[in-house]
Symmetry: C2
DNA sequence: CATTTTCGAAACGATCAGTTTCGTTTCGAT
DNA sequence: ATCGAAACGAAACTGATCGTTTCGAAAATG
């Protein structure tokens, strides 16, 4: 019978970041980089389910054996490649104007979501629905940190008296990011001015101004 | 190769409800229903990619040939099964209180999203990322109609003076539905009171009260 | 130089979507 | 009644991809 495999063997996903101390041939750093690069390149060309381990190996110029020696699954490789590529983008702004920072942060995020990396992100999030490991990694390494960034900026705006005190920060974050997720998942484009429009409408509220 | 363009996609989705006109054995309505029911049952048990056509056929008590005689793909079958099951749920409310209607509409939607049907919806939306046909069908037959419902209620609330005039209805809708999509895609639960909290925060806005 | 480990090539076994074949069944039309 | 067109079930069949393994050769360390 089929059983939801869920890797019986504990994942060798442990990619000894540190140099091998023991004797013997050390891991090839060149291959590692080639694999991560190939993964990101392929992600730009096709959604995750259409990326085959064979194509990945071929693009990277390594064998499949090498892939599975260091990663537990195709998903793990591709995710690493994505993280590796986008790791140092969009550091949260930190000027002395909290609202400007918030707007700038949102613009960065929405700009990313609207471009090629957004499509990649969408395909990863979508795949997360079918691979709990993938979803968790995505949440822990991308979504949660980004949401924390947003919340820090929100807190600063509240402290500066620009936003209402006692805000539900988590809900705020979801309202802010919601439209991007909505469009990502429905396939609608994310225009350049969307971030500003979202922020504007959110700050003002839908209600009639008293 | 035989003509790959069997029937233009979604056409066989709506098979003759009436008896077949031409000669020959008419289509088995029992099989059709059994297939749709089986599809919905399987969707409740596992995400779409894990549903095999063989399992679908077995559950419905039909042969795979019958499946593909009437549907063009596994996705089309499953989508039909889902639509068939949820078709007549949650008609948009229409009392004389626009804001109450809006709240009630949102509660219904979020309640669905938070339950088993929401998980199914999530898996379908996620799969839509990898099947353009599926995404389009989902948008046309579910997302767009629901958003139109929301917008109608918004318009009525505006006309009643309960919401600000000249609202960007599309953006409003995305803000309203955004948090549900966000949670659906990150795997976070959707609590019973989320709809009210979203609506409350949206109507008031994040800004400091003037 | 010996040890240890990697690497590439290829093969393996399994699964799945979708198609085809074939013999049987069903029903409308004659 | 009966004929025949089309639907039906069972199962074989395509063609593709998957994760994983095996094996010998290459290479880096001590």
């Amino acid at each position: 019978m089929t059983d939801p495999d869920h890797s019986p063997s504990q994942a060798p996903t442990e990619p000894c970041t540190e140099a091998a101390r023991g004797p013997g041939r050390p891991r090839s750093e060149a291959s590692r980089q080639a694999i991560l690069t190939a993964a990101y390149e392929l992600l730009q060309e096709k959604p995750l389910p259409e990326i085959t381990s064979a194509a990945l190996a071929k693009r990277a110029g390594v064998s499949k054996a090498t892939l599975y020696r260091w990663w537990s699954s195709k998903e793990a490789i591709v995710l690493d490649g994505y993280f590796d590529a986008i790791e140092h983008r969009f550091p949260p702004p930190a000027t002395d104007d909290p609202m400007a920072d918030l707007r700038s942060h949102l613009r960065d995020a929405y700009s990313m979501m609207g471009g090629p990396d957004g499509r990649i992100f969408a395909s990863l999030v979508a795949s997360g629905n079918f691979h709990e490991k993938l979803r968790e990694a995505l949440n822990e390494q991308l979504n949660s940190p980004r949401c924390r960034d947003t919340q820090k900026l929100l807190v600063r705006a509240v402290e500066a008296g620009r936003l209402a005190p006692a805000l539900d920060l988590e809900l705020c974050t979801e309202l802010i990011w919601g439209p991007a997720f909505f469009r990502l998942m429905t396939g609608a484009p994310i225009e350049d001015d969307l971030a500003d429009r979202v922020l504007g409408m959110l700050v003002c509220g839908l209600g009639t101004k008293a």
